[in-house]
Symmetry: C2
Subunit: 264 residues, 2 copies
DNA sequence: GACGGTTGTCCATTACAAGAGACAACCGCA
DNA sequence: TGCGGTTGTCTCTTGTAATGGACAACCGTC
């Protein structure tokens, strides 16, 4: 009886925590997403700080299900084809993504520029879709990449609904450091966000890459919040009139996609 | 006591089987993939023949993880954005898919035609990647679609390693009926497969769509089997010389992608 | 307003999986 | 050949989640 009560009344739960398999799976897949290449099972277990036996069992199960696949050598594993199929289903059924992709393809065709659809997913900036332009640009296979918000024009628009504190909470100090080592001042970034909101579009130059300019326009959801952005990645050399023209096209197309209940 | 013994000595395990959460999840996602649109939780439970309480809990967990998402009205659920991210990772890391995508983008840029990368996945024809051409074609957002193999030029190539019986086993009668109601004779289809294998490429006219021609070329894996195809979707009006030119480009590019251990 | 039909929530039970740890088979390297 | 470092498999224990089933809140329809 006493043990019963004692057991029941335990004020502090024991330190040993047992994760659910679904959570472990999510940890594994999230880690793989960040890791961005195949990994061995033992190293994976170390990386996500999970018991080895658990991870070995889990990897076996997930491999059997086609969620993971052997990739590379040494029995390394990575994402499986099932995830690809399911991901495509998401893309096809999600109205914003589906219509946004079509818009990107069409914009790229019409202008010959590289166009992208960008969204905030899990608090991170994501390139959802890209269609390369005509110009002999380096084709970055960056689709699905999650890169720091301050690096992009779209990032400034996507954050324009948040308060200053929310933005600060969302973005770590390291995200303000550009690929070439330069750092963006927080104050400047907040100002740029406000400016982007005012202007209804945003242009950045030479952030991710010295040779490119980003032009972005917001797509609004039914609540008037920025749900996604359309964006052009153009050469730094692009003439100002051409840039202005692209801005107009982009803003118009983004507005057409905004809060459209006329989807199918 | 008797029940105890009976319970303990059970020679045949009871009919009640308890599925693992991972298996249940896989059932749910596979069902959604086949269902191809959002579904309510209760109906989902009925559909996969799982206990209601199990499915309610599972859907809650998966939704929290971003693997499922509320979609449509009535609390229906569908695939979540995490699957999209993970699927893109699969696509980016898989050497064949990655290099095939780049080739498609480049082919489309160079020729101005709509180009596609197609594969056989889980025994079904899948458009893995598409880049729309310059011409004002109807943009089909067909990426990830799994359509009947007989409808396409790529399908004929992808099946060219299989025996007649294997092909027959893989393709149901309904797949031979084209969108406009016409039916393809099995014998003709088998002949077309053989011809495609011989020729090293395949051209079909007006199958999926009266106004289009499909031109496909095979990408071979290390074993010399057809692993994927590159394909152009062009207007029916395209001049024969132009078609011949596109065939040459396509075959050359596909060969360059074949069994390349020189991947990155 | 009593009814069969839903959908969604919440328990109690217990079968099963998450985790700890031992183990063998490999590496190098000294 | 022994010795730390691996990786991968296997056992056993025990916590926990999958399940059955009760329940409330809704429908409609008779």
């Amino acid at each position: 009886m006493q043990e019963r009560l004692a057991t029941k009344a335990k004020p502090t739960p024991p330190a040993v925590t047992r994760e659910r398999s679904l959570d472990r799976m999510s940890q594994v897949l999230d880690f793989l997403h960040a890791h961005r290449r195949p990994i061995g099972t033992a190293e994976l277990a170390r990386s996500i700080d999970a018991p080895r036996s658990t991870v070995y069992n889990l990897v076996k199960s997930l491999t059997d299900l086609g969620i993971l696949e052997a990739a590379g050598e040494d029995g390394r594993i990575y994402f499986g084809h099932k995830l690809y199929l399911w991901g495509l289903d998401y893309m096809r059924e999600n109205p914003l993504v589906r219509r946004g992709r079509e818009a990107v393809d069409r914009l790229s065709q019409e202008t010959g520029e590289t166009a992208e659809l960008c969204m905030l997913q899990s608090g991170r900036y994501t390139i959802v879709h890209m269609c390369p332009g005509l110009r002999p640009f380096r084709i970055s296979s960056a689709v699905g990449l999650q890169i720091p918000l301050p690096w992009t024009a779209s990032g400034r628009l996507l954050l324009s609904d948040l308060s200053r504190d929310e933005v600060d909470a969302l973005i770590g100090e390291e995200d303000f450091v550009l690929p070439d080592g330069r750092a963006i001042a927080r104050a400047d970034f907040h100002a740029a966000i406000a400016e982007a909101r005012q202007a209804g579009h945003c242009i950045t130059s030479g952030l991710v890459d010295v040779f490119t300019k980003c032009i972005a326009a917001p797509i609004f959801d039914v609540d008037g919040k920025v749900a996604a952005t359309l964006c052009f990645v153009v050469s730094m050399e692009t003439a100002p009139e051409r840039v202005a023209e692209l801005v107009d096209v982009l803003v118009a197309r983004a507005r057409a996609l905004s809060s459209g209940p006329d989807a199918d």
